[in-house]
Amino acid sequence: MFNHLLSLLIWLPIVGAIPVLLAGSSRPNAARWISLLVAIATFAVSLYLLPQYNASDAAKQMVEDHLWIAGLNVHYALAVDGIAIALILLTTLVGILVIVGAWEVIQVNPHQYMAAMLVLEGLMIGVFCATDALLFYVFFEAMLIPMFILIGVWGGPRRVYATLKFFIYTFFGSIFMLVGLIYLYLKAGTFDLAQLAALPLSMKEQTWLFFAFLIAFAVKVPMVPVHTWLPDAHVEAPTGGSVVLAAVMLKIGGYGFLRFSLPITPDASEAYAWVVIGLSLIAVIYIGYIALVQEDMKKLVAYSSVAHMGFVTLGIFIAFMLVRGNNNLDAAKLGVQGAMVQMISHGFVSGAMFSCIGVLYDRLHTRQIKDYGGVINVMPWFGFFYVLFAMANCGMPGTSGFVGEFQVILASFQANPWIALFAAFTLIISAAYTLYLVKRVLWGDITNSHVAEMKDINGREWFVLGVFAAGTLVLGIWPEPLVHLMDSSVSQLVTQLGNHKI
């Protein structure tokens, strides 16, 4: 068996970016087609990965391990479990969609744009595959560079402020993680995540490490109150940048909690779970109200992302209360599964919402809600997709948006009915801000002559939105395959939570 599959998956898009760059600005179509082929090939490899993976085995699979930096005992170590595979599939699928989505939209140096996207895709896959903490950190930070370029070059008028804010904000967070990792290395002599998970640590050490990781990942997710980079970054980013940012990059924060905070600092995570749970609930309600009054469509969806990611952190940290407080492992699994399903679902739904805004922006070159109104009159197909994704955004059963929130709310009630009560508030507030947006943009009579001239979506846009819609619906109607894919990995993770380190 070919056992460098994961390396192939990471490096294929990164190396594939070279011919795209070489195509140069004089041959934009060559650049587009090459990057599309590379993205499709990457997706094909990730699909090939799926049957190779044995979902009933909780162990990490497709292991690759080479010594990388001998002096520091850093390994180029890759492996995946069900959780990582789910996120990798999301990444490779979104990878195709952003290339197609940018096809004729990006006119300035499309080869560079496409190349940056492919590099970004490879680095994100690397984050999900790495089992060495320093390798993870390298991918985690390297990811910022292509995104920094994407926002800074192809962004809107305030792109410089936004891209700096994005970079420094996230970089600020990860510095703490680096310090934590160095401490762990000095103590354990390795960056291997499995060994770090088994490392005994005192409560004091765990507390420091927990907060170091918390800052790093909380910025990435983002959690309240370190979320303010996200609306700015989204507003200025090009459509594709926003899609990748929302659909995949935010997930890395949640993934980090699962890979670092939970196994390495379980006791501190338990002790401070209330902090994260409290912040998650604030995200749902406080951010929900803020989303209600946004005047810029992208800001609205960005804030809605923060609120939805609140369910991810809630589902993950509720597990501690359930495992340690109630000794209810199954409910904890329900919570973590809910968090994971919510991540994948949010990948589809937020990606689709940003794509929809891109469709509108390409036609009217404004994101202000007040410039639209009555779009359904001229764009019925667009209206169909927009309403579908809006419904998914407010958690309509039958769409993926429901599944994760449902599971997390059910699990929260097992821990404490009050948590479920606050979390369930999303039903009201998400419906309010999402449908208020739909009302102002889609419904009503045509408000101005610009709207009257809008053309309905073309085949390319239909394809992008159609794939997102298919993902949203399939996951909403039948989540069991995804749940099954992650089941043994989640079980193992939850069982580990019960092991005290002190």
Partner: protein, 677 residues
């Protein structure tokens, strides 16, 4: 013989197929194609539903309870898609598909000028699918799916004429108010999973007795009874969907949608989902007298007070809408006194006569070229006799005149409330009794204003106008009271459904009361504790449907109806000015009713405007000022200022540096000298 899975799947999916064909291929298959496929889909579902009901009753088929596929399975927790088909389900399936089929046919006539014809058929078929998924479910997850899906279709249909500002306000309001109910409903479901460990009906209901004595910790020292908490949360869901006070505000506004869906969704089926749900959950509700008292009081309040509003409405559809609110209150009261079968019975009769009344109102609206204000109607009986007669049948059924269907179901509810000794039943008894009077008041007023008395419109033949193709979207364009054509009876696709609904509105009560209420017809589907069995008590005095009706003529409810009939006949047929004089004499009361007790105004100020204000305060105050202003840009600014200050030291002049070096040297040496001392 067992029920067949493939038949059940066909029932659920046939309307969905129709929906998809009409929705996605509407342009290719055209108008006739769209209504053919959707009607075919619903007709298949209806025919097979009747067959399933027949199998369960006459065929002796056992209750069907199987999962179709696993939705998710995590440890001990799992959710499935599956069907539980007992007689309660089968009856609902027949009611839903039958009314839906008639509404589909009616729509051909009602919407034939509308450019959204195919879209409309697609929506109502989607609704039928969703409603079937709701009633056929064997678990809480799928129930919630159907629950939300019918809400989505309701949203789409209320806003069907999306150019109207009022319609797109109403659909947003309907969805969000319903979500308030769903918020409670979802917590109720979470409570079921927490205490009973399953989302499956059968398992949960068999484990229900273990709830007794369990409590939920609310605060350090407060513990609430588990069954009460679960049931009240579940009922909050019903309050949203079935428009119970104080979550009733969306239903009158939903009349912005086309009339066929007012009949189907906002009268006959969707709004009764809450009633069905509580009846289905009877094994849980029976565990909590507190929850049932709550249900009863909410229902009774709605039954009387929303009915009162109906008296002052001038829009023909709004009268029927408030009447629906009031009748939903009756059903809820029945649930509250443990007369679940009575509630479901009234649900069924109401589905027929209320769909009839709405479709009749729609027929009038077509004839009046989309004039809905009853002040500009009158005397229509001679133009449209079929609509006139069928609407009288519906009205008499609604008022509970003996022998009509509504009489049996409503009288049973009133008597059951009288029989009950649960906390609040005296109040409820007063409300349902007074409600009977109020029902008759608004119903007869509506009939007289519409069909009787003088014509309050003038016909101006305007030939240059040709065939009047005024679009429904432009409702309200024309001058009130001016018609361009004489009103005429509507085409057969409209009148046929009226006739087909009028028949059950007369006979179904007499036909079904004995088995449904006093027999064991529902079997295991509805569970009532012996001590609460008010219907069982009533059953001892019940002999025959004829006897009950004859007895009914001497009872208080009928006398109240008769009084109301006399009053309204006098006012609207003989002395119309009395109405205005009463209105002026009772100005304060009229104001309260005309403003619908100010529910809408208060909600709008507190929740809509208040929510926006809160959001703005949090955004500007929290995110922009504190987090970004102080922490993020503030710290960036601080770095900037410090750097700016420090930069000034790097002046580039040699003598500055030399001076600093000398100063440093002095300080350093001086420091050593001081330490040395």
């Amino acid at each position: 013989m067992e029920l067949s899975t493939s038949i059940l799947l066909t029932i659920a999916l046939a309307p969905l197929v129709g929906c998809l064909l009409a929705g996605f291929f509407g342009r290719f298959i055209g108008r006739a194609g769209a209504h053919t496929v959707t009607i075919l889909g619903v007709a298949i579902a209806c025919g097979l539903s009747i067959y399933v009901l027949y199998q369960l009753t006459a065929g002796g088929a056992p209750v069907y309870n199987h999962n179709i596929y696993t939705w998710f399975e995590i440890g001990q927790y799992s959710a499935h898609v599956g069907f539980l088909i007992d007689r309660l389900t089968a009856m609902m399936m027949v009611v839903v598909t039958f009314v839906s089929l008639l509404v589909h046919i009616y729509t051909i006539g009602y919407m034939h000028e509308d450019p959204g014809y195919q879209r409309f058929f697609s929506y109502i078929s989607l609704f039928t699918f969703s409603m079937l998924m709701l009633v056929m479910s064997n678990n809480f997850m799928q129930l919630f799916f159907g629950w939300e899906a019918v809400g989505l279709v309701s949203y789409l249909l209320i806003g069907f004429w999306f150019k109207r500002p009022t319609a797109i306000f109403a659909n947003l309001k309907a969805f969000v108010v319903n979500r308030v109910g769903d918020f409670g409903f979802l917590l109720g479901i979470a409570g079921v999973l927490y205490f009973l460990g399953t989302l499956d009906y059968a398992t949960a209901f068999s484990a229900a007795p273990t709830l007794v004595g369990k409590t939920l910790q609310i605060t350090q020292n407060t513990h609430w009874d588990a069954a009460t908490v679960i049931c009240i949360f579940l009922f909050i869901g019903a309050m949203g969907k079935s428009a119970q006070v104080p979550l009733h505000v969306w239903l009158p506004d939903s009349m912005e949608g086309p009339t066929p869906i007012s009949a189907l969704i906002h009268a006959a089926t969707m709004v009764t989902a809450g009633i069905f749900m509580v009846a289905r959950m009877s094994p849980l509700f029976e565990l909590s007298d507190t929850a049932l008292s709550f249900v009863m009081v909410i229902g009774a309040t709605g039954a009387l007070f929303t009915g009162l509003i109906g008296i002052v409405q001038n829009d023909i559809k709004r009268v029927v809408a408030y009447s629906t609110l009031s009748q939903l209150g009756y059903m809820t009261v029945a649930l509250g006194v443990s007369a679940y079968a009575g509630a479901v019975f009234h649900l069924m009769t109401h589905a027929f006569f209320k769909a009839l009344l709405f479709l009749g109102a729609g027929s009038v609206i077509i004839a009046m070229h989309h004039e809905q204000d009853m002040r500009y109607m009158g005397g229509l009986r001679k133009y449209m006799p079929i609509t006139w007669i069928t609407m009288w049948i519906g009205s008499l059924a609604l008022c509970g005149v003996p022998f009509f269907a509504g009489f049996y179901s409503k009288d049973a509810i009133i008597e059951a409330v009288g029989e009950s000794h649960r906390w609040g039943s005296n109040y409820a008894y007063f409300c349902v009794m007074a409600g009977a009077f109020v029902t008759a008041l608004y119903t007869f007023r509506q009939m007289y204003l519409t069909f009787h008395g003088k014509e309050r419109f003038t016909v101006v033949h305007d030939h240059s106008h040709g065939h009047h193709v005024e679009h429904k979207d432009d409702h309200g364009h024309h001058e009130p009271g001016i018609m361009h054509q004489t009103p005429h009876e509507t085409p057969w696709v409209v009148t046929l459904p009226l006739i087909l609904l009028a028949i059950p509105s007369i006979v179904v009560g007499a036909f079904a009361i004995k088995p449904l209420l006093y027999g064991e017809w529902f079997g295991s589907a509805i569970h009532v504790n012996e001590a609460n069995n008010v219907l069982g008590e009533l059953g001892k005095e019940f002999h025959s449907w004829v006897g009950m009706a004859l007895h009914g003529f001497t009872q208080l409810p009928f006398l109240l109806v008769l009084t109301a009939f006399a009053i309204q006949t006098y006012i609207y047929l003989f002395n119309p000015s009395v109405a205005d004089r009463i209105k002026n004499a009772l100005k304060p009361i009229y104001n309260v009713l005309n403003h619908k007790y100010w529910f809408d105004a208060v909600y709008y100020i507190v929740f809509a405007r208040g929510g926006i204000a809160l959001g703005r305060a949090l955004w500007k105050g929290g995110d922009t000022a504190v987090i970004d202003g102080v922490l993020v840009d503030g710290s960036a600014g601080l770095v900037d200022r410090i750097a700016g200050g420090v930069r000034r030291l790097q002046s580039g002049y040699l003598y500055h540096y030399a001076f600093a070096m000398i100063l440093g040297l002095i300080l350093l040496l001086g420091g050593y000298w001081l330490v040395g001392q």
